[in-house]
């Protein structure tokens, strides 16, 4: 049987979806042999059929549950921690200021350095400052190169799902001078990660937050108010 062009063309959608009865499908196939236009049309629609068969009619674009996101992020964080422990690059410690200072981080910071810009983190510290049950956090010690004279500084990193904390402990930051900390990620982007004021020869302890994932961080630099780097650390594993 010979079917008209328009009649067949209207059936091309049903044809590529495999919805035609066998005799109707044969009629379309016969037409496609003779009609390059319809053959091209059918060929361009055919790739939709397979993927479309996997779309749920009742829930075509299902939403990811929030609990799944939390679960996966926790799993990845645990995997990272376990790997670092296995590497021996970290040691689990409790932050001394959590146990010894009733004021927690703020007291420690005031004793050492004045935190500026509201960037110092207190949100990650969890339980009460004097709570003996406060869980230890794992701090990854990283080697810091002091560029400025008389500067003695150590740094530790704490990995978080939202980024990381940099804990600076040191002496020799010039009293009254404002310093800032910049983290560079693997794409070369710089992230302002907090600031503090130097207190001279008194040892300061300062916790800063960086909106960069630990695994993406390449280095950090401490700069003085003139922009000169006074200390830096390579953060690549």
């Amino acid at each position: 049987m010979t079917a008209g062009h328009d009649e067949v063309r209207e059936r091309l959608g049903a044809f590529v979806l495999g919805q035609l009865a066998p005799d109707q499908a044969d009629t379309v196939r016969e037409h496609l042999v003779r009609c390059a236009d319809c053959a091209a049309e059918a060929a361009s629609l055919q790739p939709l059929a397979g993927p479309l068969g996997w779309v749920d009619a009742d829930d075509p674009v299902p939403a990811e549950p929030t609990r799944l996101r939390t679960r996966v992020e926790q799993t990845l964080a645990e995997a990272t921690r376990a790997a670092r422990e296995a590497d021996g690059r970290t040691r689990p410690v409790a932050r001394p200021w959590l146990r010894s200072r009733t004021g927690g981080l703020v007291a420690a910071a005031v004793a050492g350095a004045v935190l500026a810009g509201g960037v110092a983190t207190a949100v990650s510290l969890g339980g009460g400052a004097s709570d003996p049950a406060t869980p230890a956090v794992e701090v990854e010690q990283v080697p810091v190169v002091a560029v400025a004279p008389d500067l003695d500084v150590r740094a530790g990193l704490v990995d978080h799902t939202w980024g990381m904390e940099i804990e600076l402990v040191g002496t020799g930051f010039v009293r009254g001078v404002a310093y800032d900390v910049v983290v560079t990620d693997e794409r070369g982007r710089r992230h302002d990660s907090g600031a503090f004021v130097g207190v001279g020869s008194t040892e300061m302890t300062c916790a800063l937050s960086a909106a960069v994932l630990r695994e993406d961080a390449v280095r950090f630099a401490v700069r003085d108010d003139g922009g000169a780097v006074v200390a830096r650390a390579d953060l690549r594993a």
């Binding site: 049903a14 993927p51 829930d59 939403a63 679960r71 996966v72």
Partner: protein, 167 residues
């Protein structure tokens, strides 16, 4: 790296997993396995060779094959289900990987075109029944399916071109 890939593409990964497994719980397990596999393979990611998304979904493809195929695979392009050759599992994974773009293109259709495709194909209902329900001839439903598919193809080609430009 794995965390960033998951944060940027986790929602799409979940949709892939839902379609592949057909089950919420199994989909969540699949997503978690993909994320962990990506975490352990992060050293192999080379941004000069593939985008983060391409890399993540290449991993997803392998994990999905490991998880095994969804039990009920519907026939798609043949007229007689008895002739269905299930084909290699990898073919089905590729279809499911493309299903997200197709699903989003389906969402952009006019109501008439979308209903015609959803009812006759996704719900596998006879044309005559759908036509009667809509109060139109069956030929009109066939025509809507055809024009709906053409519109979806156009939407997807436009999205492909935009993706090219973004790269």
């Amino acid at each position: 790296m794995a965390l960033r890939a998951y944060r940027e593409h986790g929602a799409e990964l979940y949709r892939f997993a839902r379609r592949w497994t057909g089950d919420r719980g199994a989909a969540e397990d699949l997503v978690q396995d993909v994320a962990l596999r990506a975490w352990s393979a992060a050293g192999g990611f080379d941004p000069t060779r593939a985008s983060l998304r391409t890399w993540l979904f290449a991993i997803a493809r392998n994990v999905a094959i490991d998880h095994g195929r969804r039990k009920a695979v519907r026939p798609t392009t043949v007229t007689d289900p008895r002739q269905v050759d299930p084909g290699p599992v990898s073919d089905h994974v590729d279809d499911v990987l493309r299903a997200d773009a197709v699903a989003r293109a389906l969402q952009t259709l006019s109501h008439d075109h979308r209903v015609a495709i959803v009812e006759t194909y996704l719900r596998d209902r006879p044309y005559d029944e759908v036509a009667a329900e809509l109060g139109v001839p069956a030929s009109t439903v066939r025509s809507r399916v055809f024009h709906g598919l053409r519109a979806m193809r156009g939407t997807m080609q436009g999205a492909d071109r935009r993706e090219e430009v973004d790269r």
